[in-house]
């Protein structure tokens, strides 16, 4: 088998976000997070629950983008009102996108520019505020750049480590930012004040490249490891079972 592509490295890093989560609802937003969640489910996190993207919990794992595939094996009902039940119970880990994200992991998906009259109106806050205060959250950024990794986000939807700390230990006791995965590297918040740290660089990417593409000062340690490659079994799952049509490579070209 040929060596892993950048998209496959990202999918594996996204799967690793769910490592240790056990029997909870994984809610990946976007193509590669979905591929990652399915990889986790088929390998090291077999108890994860996944939805079909509509309102069903699906017991089987289908290839991504497979609208005309096998009849789904439905193991449960998860309409939006029950998604809120699950998220407020904490039995969920979401991977959201971020149009902007800052050094503490504050995320914006609502609007760019002033709130009263934005320069660019985006989606709105969606579930960002509630997700981040109730259960583990990770982020996925397919195009790492200084306009995404910014000094200050224009509208705080998902709340970061500084804002969680300001709420105090009780209100923020379920706040858990796990990781940010981008097309260039993996980041976490394992610093004393919860600032973003470069956890690993994807193969073929330099630390300098990441620092230059980041609009704030990242915590960077002396030795930054390389993001792990998928195992041969994981690579086979990715190519043959989860993403045979190569949709991941459309999100992150090699």
């Amino acid at each position: 088998m040929s060596s892993p592509t950048r998209a496959e490295i990202c999918a594996t890093a996204l799967a690793d976000c769910f490592r240790g989560d056990g029997e909870i609802l994984a809610s990946p937003i976007g193509t590669l997070p979905t591929i990652g969640a399915r990889l986790a489910r088929l390998s090291f996190e077999p108890d994860l629950l996944l939805t079909d993207g509509v309102a069903f919990l699906r017991a089987d794992v289908a290839p991504v983008g497979d609208a005309n595939g096998a009849e789904p094996v439905v193991e449960g009902w998860m309409p939006y009102r029950r998604v809120f039940d699950v998220l407020w119970s904490g039995r969920r880990h979401v991977i959201m996108g971020a149009t902007q994200i800052d050094r503490f992991g504050n995320q914006n998906i609502s609007a760019i520019g002033p709130y009263e009259r934005p320069k660019v109106q985006l989606l709105g806050p969606r579930g960002g505020p509630g997700n981040t205060l109730n259960h583990p959250t990770s982020y996925w950024v397919p195009r790492h750049g200084p306009r995404v990794f910014v000094e200050r986000v224009d509208d705080v939807c998902g709340i970061g480590a500084d804002r969680a700390a300001a709420l105090g230990p009780r209100a923020a006791r379920f706040h858990a930012l796990r990781r940010v995965v981008s097309n260039l590297g993996v980041f976490d918040f394992a610093t004393p004040d919860g600032r973003m740290r470069l956890a690993s660089v994807h193969p073929g990417v330099s630390v300098d490249e990441i620092v230059a593409a980041t609009g704030f000062e990242l915590a960077v340690e002396a030795d930054v490891p390389e993001t792990r490659a998928p195992t041969p079994d994981e690579l086979r799952l990715l190519r043959e079972r989860i993403d045979p049509s190569g949709l991941g490579a459309r999100e992150v070209p090699s």
């Binding site: 509509v54 309102a55 069903f56 009902w77 309409p79 939006y80 009102r81 809120f84 998220l87 407020w88 609502s110 609007a111 709130y115 009263e116 009259r117 934005p118 320069k119 660019v120 109106q121 985006l122 989606l123 709105g124 806050p125 969606r126 579930g127 960002g128 505020p129 509630g130 981040t132 205060l133 109730n134 509208d155 705080v156 939807c157 998902g158 709340i159 804002r163 969680a164 300001a166 709420l167 009780r170 209100a171 923020a172 379920f174």
Partner: protein, 282 residues
């Protein structure tokens, strides 16, 4: 009581300046035939409460809206709603943004006649300053936890679209998700319900199990039979989203001339039946 009405009669219950909740979710099972009747009416200055889709977009484009209360506005398969976007970027509508779950709790509080419901969602986010007048509350118990007091979202009127209903307003969803339609109705004074087909009461359970009877007639003032009434949004199992139409809608929204001709072609019609004819004859 037979509550059957036309779109025009139902929407005739609405007044300028009202707060109107719209059921469905994004571009899914939206009461679009009622929204189109609103476009044909002289209504203005409305506050719209919605898990927003083309309902919000069309009402903004027609200049009917003063303020939007939303967790998101999206067309699902196309992430951003072009008219809502233009209205916000042009400073033509006020925004009151909320976490999606807060919106549910606001409707639930209104439906239960409570002043607020407590939640953790929102704390620390910019929703706290962007939603006017939002306050927190401290738990009276030993934990003393500070929580968001999500205020009741009391609606002057609510509009929802269901798959089936009887003439009295007992209504059924046959797709995978009820969304929050029962809460919108429960939170509202005037409750307008459209459906794909009005059926005799005794036929309701022929279509689905008793759990699909989401809406009771005590929550409904008007029943509008509107086949295709959710178009272009999806209304499974009756029909999927009309993706071609939605793409044409988004393309037309990019400039004023294209939008005028889209309006002339589909929206400047005397009634819903003519709209449906225009859509079919594409």
């Amino acid at each position: 009581m037979d509550k059957r009405r036309s779109e025009e009669e139902a929407v005739g219950e609405l007044r300028d300046g009202m707060t109107v909740g719209i059921g469905g979710w994004g571009a899914r099972r939206k009461p679009m035939s009622l929204v189109r009747a609103m476009l044909r009416s002289p209504l203005r200055d409305l506050t719209i409460v919605s898990y927003g889709g083309p309902d919000v977009g069309l009402l903004c484009a027609a200049g009917k809206v003063r303020k939007v209360v939303y967790g998101f506005v999206s067309l699902d398969s196309i992430p951003l709603e072009p008219h809502f976007r233009a209205a916000r970027e042009g400073g033509r509508v006020e925004a009151a943004e909320l976490d999606e779950g807060m919106l549910q709790l606001g409707l639930q509080a209104a439906a239960w006649r409570l002043p607020f419901l407590p939640t953790r969602a929102g704390l620390g986010s910019d929703v706290m300053t962007h939603f006017p007048g939002l306050r927190t509350v401290r738990s009276p118990y030993d934990d003393g936890e500070e929580l968001v007091a999500m205020p009741a979202l009391e609606l002057d009127a609510a509009l929802v679209h269901m798959n089936r209903a009887d003439a009295q307003g007992n209504a059924q969803f046959l797709g995978p998700d009820p969304y929050f339609d029962d809460l919108f109705l429960g939170a509202a004074k005037k409750r307008l319900l459209s459906c794909e087909r009005v059926v005799p009461t005794e036929d309701l359970l022929k279509g689905g199990a008793v759990q699909t009877l989401l809406v009771s007639r005590m929550l409904v003032d008007a029943v509008v039979e509107a086949p295709g009434g959710a178009h272009p949004t999806e209304c499974p199992p009756d029909y999927p989203r009309d993706e071609d139409f939605q793409r044409a809608y988004v393309a037309a929204a990019q400039d004023a001339t294209a939008w005028s001709s889209f309006e002339a072609r589909y929206l400047d019609v005397p009634n819903e039946a003519d709209y449906q004819k225009r859509v079919r004859s594409r």
